[in-house]
């Protein structure tokens, strides 16, 4: 399936760079990981309506992290129709449309990527378990760092932010050894 081949790095890099630029030109730099907290906040507030409360100055929460910075996360969770949350939903829709336009993914690829299967076999359960634990560690780390690959690495280094460089150094210091140990076969 030729559709699996990514864009040439020159075209792809310029296209991705233009999206970063458009974001900061029109609104603000791109970031994603905060929205996991916002969705958690929305879900928690459904389960326990006193989780987020409106005050005279704005919003607050029984959770200290949700309430920090004058309750800006609490405010976003109380009003999900905000730029950053819609951005992430639109990103998902854009990726879906792009994948469908090039013919969709194969059935086996939808369970586990080929590189994973080449190294760890066809067990779906094993792949799902690692993806789940990976997701936990990634989002815990992203929230501790205050951003993720998009917010810190791409948007951060683009703006010459010192924090972006610190984050990127940490991310690759861990990612390269882990990937080299786990993915010896190319698939």
């Amino acid at each position: 399936m030729t559709a699996d081949k990514p864009l040439n790095w020159k075209i792809g890099g310029v296209a991705l760079g233009l999206v970063f630029f458009l974001a900061v030109l029109l609104v603000k730099p791109i970031g994603v990981s905060t929205q996991f907290v916002i969705l958690d906040g929305i879900l928690a507030d459904i389960a326990a309506p006193e989780f987020i409360t409106q005050t005279e100055e704005g919003y607050t929460s029984t959770n200290a992290y949700m309430a920090k910075s004058d309750g800006k996360y609490a405010k976003s969770a109380a009003n999900p129709l905000n730029y950053s949350f819609i951005f992430v939903l639109a990103m998902a829709a854009g990726a879906f449309a792009s994948v469908m336009a090039r013919g969709g993914l194969s059935k086996s690829e939808r369970v586990a990527p080929a590189l994973w299967r080449a190294n760890f076999g066809d067990s779906a359960a094993k792949r799902y378990a690692v993806a789940f634990v990976g997701g936990f560690v990634v989002l815990y780390g992203a929230r501790l760092a205050g951003g993720c690959t998009s917010g810190h690495m791409m948007s951060g280094m683009m703006q010459t932010a010192v924090s972006g460089y610190i984050f990127t150094a940490g991310a690759f210091a861990a990612a390269v050894p882990v990937a080299m140990i786990m993915y010896k076969r190319e698939g």
Partner: protein, 196 residues
Amino acid sequence: MQIILAIVIGAAFGAVLDRVGAANPNWIGKMLSLKHLHLAKTIILAIGVGSVLMFGGQMLGLVEVGHMSVKAAYVGVFIGGLLLGAGWAASGYCPGTGVCAAASGRKDALFFIAGGLLGAAAYMATYPSWKASGLLDDIAGGKVTLGAVPGASYDGLFAVSGDVLGVALGAVFVLVAIVLPERLSGDGAGVETPAE
């Protein structure tokens, strides 16, 4: 208006992440195990292009400096980076690309998102301990850029003009993207070359 921009820019971001292979864990794994740097070249070029356009636009007065958003530097940024890197390598997903992959029909990415929601909740629950540890306290001036950007509220780490430095560094990123080889290791047997 903001919502329309969120839809347009968000959809463009998701589509481009798919087309460059960033939402595909195969390419992430091959990049992070230093076998195939096609995606690294793409991302480094993108950062360079974005930087040159943004800082160049600021110097010409076409881009509002106030749209910049610089995050604080603290020890936790590095620790969090280490954690994210390990999970990114193991799963092949980061927060943005995991969402894109799940939307594309990858079932493993749904487990990534479920784990991610739990991980974010775990951080929310443990945040007071991190706060008390001092590891979230600013280092190197906190919200700083490498050089002071004219008109921005952020300090510069070095006594250089931030926008000139931004354009120069952007050019360096572009150059690195060009000279970086597609392959550092691996025999390449049985692997198709990427689209060129």
